[in-house]
Symmetry: D2
Subunit: 165 residues, 4 copies
């Protein structure tokens, strides 16, 4: 965001913004966006009598996806909690497109599309091979041990600042 | 819904609609809407190391809510499946407002706001005493044993037709 | 338990033992033994693709059984933990006799056969109607927040002392 | 076991048995015994409010262990079920020695100590690094789709016959 109107007079910056906005609109612009991949092998315990995976069994998979993303960037969730920072789920949404089945290998692609501030939104795509079988999102905020909302831990803020620079 | 403009000339109907709209807006008008209440006592198994209920543990509760609603109207889900009709979850959304805790009594209020056609939307409110702790919704459609979308079973259509007459 | 010493003087001590053993054998002798009943309605989430209840889903039921027993005797587990006493499972054993099914009502009968000292053994029988569908047992010991073995909380010891007097 | 002294005269067989028995007794004899290793990374969903893994969460791990063993020997459980053979759990026993924790890597060692006949017993050891944290066993028998006990599928019998030759 330009903070001075002077910015508008520099054609380069202005043009860049325009182009960026246009490209964003048609989905071809590479905005900074953090993505991580994890895999699970579907457990028998995760199925139900419909013969496919129980819809609630997908939630631990999303969790595996986002903690893999955090770990890859040097932020193991285990350590965040050890330092007194908890990241509960405030909202979750899931769309089931194709049933997952026992013994399937499911790839969880987790994406952080915006620099997290107080709220952190994660998006998920679940694939079996090439086939997209579910999409979802979760919303989070940091709290302390007493359950009070807190600012993200410094290490987290630092990593995100760098990733979304 | 009046389909002819003639409806507008009949003061009664017109006034009724106006009043209905006004009451709807302030939430006091009784539109046909099916609601059911069920209770769960929070299990230790449903908690996680954050000391509260794991966010995924709410999904079986919603299921208890909607199957209670169906059973109250003479449609036990067990029997629907026995007759070859399955009602998988196509979408789920949940907002967590306050953490549920071990040994809490949680009341699940399930609402069917619109007459279900091919798609069935259920809405949920979870309370601990007077306190609203979570809201959610699920979307469903009937499928057969082979996983193909099918029309709702006749008994289901009949009950819904009567409830939303 | 004989309440008068007279009982012991009657030659029949030997006879009494014989009778006691006989009655025990035919299940009609009342040894001090604490029993509690709880009910669960089988959840869809508890089934697996074999079409019946997943074998791991029985463990939360045993937990419901033993916490019901404790609560009935004025020892809600929630409060034990609030006072810093935890009762983890050291051992569990289960025999599955008949499959439990979705929407079944399962009665959990929990029995404390011996006065618990440092170790607490609970035994379980699961019925669907009159039919015994599973049996099990768990072994427990109290630990403190740091995970160290501790003596049972005074309230617990007092209740058990009274029950097994 | 030779029941007649005649056996003494057949050096080969007799010596073999003696040596085998002696070695078995001191635990150094390599009896045919099938072992498989699998790993799980502990999920947040598997913990409870005691801050460690919920005791019921170990059961899906044992399942991962035994299905890995079967798969390694060309018997994917998915296919056994596809061919109409189901392998329910008849008994389970677990001893918890040390608590498993979130994000731990747990190695499941599954052992088939005897050639399975109608009953199949699997034994388990769970380690975190070098530390043994739990042991367990399960008992199984094959059933058909209708729940009736059946002989193991031919492929299974053939593999076991070869492994325990």
């Amino acid at each position: 965001m330009p903070k001075t109107t002077a910015a508008w007079r520099e054609p380069g910056e202005y043009t860049k913004n325009l182009v960026q906005a246009a490209l964003l609109r048609c989905g071809r612009y590479a905005i900074p966006m953090i993505t991580s991949r994890a895999e699970v092998s579907v457990r028998y315990a995760e199925t139900d009598m419909m013969g496919v995976v129980y819809h609630g069994s997908y939630l631990p998979w999303l969790e595996i996806g986002r903690t893999a993303l955090l770990k890859e960037h040097g932020l193991p969730y285990r350590q965040l909690e050890a330092e007194g920072f908890f990241l509960p789920v405030l909202e979750v949404g899931l769309r089931y497109l194709k049933p997952a089945r026992y013994d399937d290998t499911v790839t969880i692609t987790t994406t952080l599309r915006e620099k997290p501030t107080l709220r952190i939104r994660m998006e998920y795509e679940l694939h079996r091979g090439e086939e997209l079988i579910a999409t979802g999102s979760t919303l989070h905020a940091f709290i302390d041990k007493a359950g009070r909302p807190v600012r993200p831990p410094p290490a987290f803020a630092e990593v995100m600042g760098r990733l979304f620079a």
